[in-house]
Symmetry: C2
Subunit: 247 residues, 2 copies
DNA sequence: AGCCATTCAGGTACCATGTACGCAAATAGG
DNA sequence: CCTATTTGCGTACATGGTACCTGAATGGCT
């Protein structure tokens, strides 16, 4: 890239198609991003190094810097590519509960397809167009009910927080197992299992132990568990919409 | 460390004080962790490298590996050190709202003291003793009300998710500015400001724009803003406790 | 006291990573 | 065909985690 001062990737669009002299670009920002996403999906973000991406494209590492200013910006682009996969109607339907359920499921699906997505999303404050589109959809779900914009932002935040942490729980240990190179089964049995068992058997944390031993949601399918938690969040929002506020 | 098979750091306690032959250890796991925390507080986690920590202790990088198996485990230890700073009574008071408010404020305070804490906490599934203690306290706040353990876990999750995301928002951009080496004021003005302005002026995301322009909570102090959001979460929990559930 | 098994200290070394720099190759207009 | 311009990418460097190995310290034994 040129020697501009550092600024958000969203303010630095790809160099446009032009008609002057000079060699034509052989790749594109989108192509680099797609390749990075593919590698990250298959082998984890830590495998999506500049060299590896370049190799996959059949070029040299430094060539990528013609399309992406820095590696961190590539993360933002990856996030936006994944968020762009959400299948949302052009505008909310008027049924906020249905709209938010759809949105939540779509984000979860993207998070499972791209196990690095939620981690990146919550580790850096980014505001790409696709993310903004999803956010706008969420805000729009509450439009016309006559709510304060701050309240709406709060509700959307609650939903987002739930989805993020639910998906993270769902894939967290699997990812950790993959990162350390063990197969998930073995990892659960030899790595984390014995520790949790020890904690439970120590009796030092009785309520935690109860939440491990007596949990009913633990026996649901992942889909059902996600939906169950989501319903509670939506219940909470519904209650806040109608009930008086404190403070 | 010895050549044991890889397992959770919490299953690998520091080598005990013994009375056999051999040189005496010059440092300790706690000392290494404390040093790492100090560096991370002052210059960010990325500055807390093995070499840097060792240098601060006046020793060589490889010496640290006598006390900590791997760098990732050091992160777990740092998290637990920070979570151990929470000032909580031995057991909940019976006023769940007051207890959770106290807990939330304590976590926020720790998150502001250690700007890396929330990022680490949400980036890796860890279950150190101090974290378990805080979690147990939160679960205990609902004890005696006759709630289902899964419901209680869900409420605690909501609270946690709120605190994490609120603190992250509070320090997210500041940290990003520090990471890129710009001073925060300049960063906000030259880096993120122009982009948000452009998004707002484009008119493409009217509700997002409204949430930026018409926000009232934006004019509160950080403390007030945190408390405001916290009250809404507690309101939501209160509503869920008394109202019937869907599904 | 002197020897020895055991443990810690930490230097050296290796490999992987992001990326600055510079030059060769390609391209379109003159 | 020459030249300004832009891309392709090899080389090189700084920085990171950490495997390995040698030497130093230590306490129990003879």
């Amino acid at each position: 890239m040129a020697d501009e001062e550092p600024t958000s990737i969203w303010m630095r669009p790809e160099r446009q198609e032009r008609s002057g002299p000079g060699r034509r670009p052989g790749y594109s920002r989108a192509q680099v991003t797609r390749t990075a996403v593919q590698i990250a999906d298959a082998e984890g973000v830590e495998a999506a190094t500049m060299r590896r991406i370049a190799c996959e494209l059949g070029t040299g590492a430094m060539s990528l810097y013609r399309y992406v200013p820095r590696r961190d910006d590539l993360f933002d682009l990856m996030i936006d590519l994944a968020m762009g996969e959400l299948e949302l109607p052009g505008s909310p339907s008027g049924d906020w509960r249905g709209d938010l359920t759809l949105l939540a499921r779509q984000i979860r699906a993207a998070g499972l397809r791209h196990p690095w997505l939620i981690a990146l999303l919550t580790s850096r404050p980014t505001l790409g167009p696709s993310l903004l589109r999803a956010h706008e959809f969420a805000l729009g779900a509450f439009d016309g009910i006559g709510l304060d914009i701050d309240d709406v932002t709060g509700f959307v935040g609650m939903l987002n927080d739930y989805v993020n942490s639910a998906v993270r729980r769902e894939i967290g240990w699997l990812e950790e197992a993959r990162r350390t190179g063990l197969d998930p089964e073995r990892w659960k049995r030899d790595y984390i299992g014995p520790y949790v068992r020890q904690v439970v058997e120590s009796g030092a944390f009785p309520l935690f132990s109860r939440s491990v031993l007596d949990s009913r949601t633990a026996h649901l399918t992942p889909d059902e568990r996600f939906q169950h938690g989501l319903d509670r969040i939506l219940d909470a929002i519904a209650a806040l919409i109608t009930s008086p506020r404190s403070g």
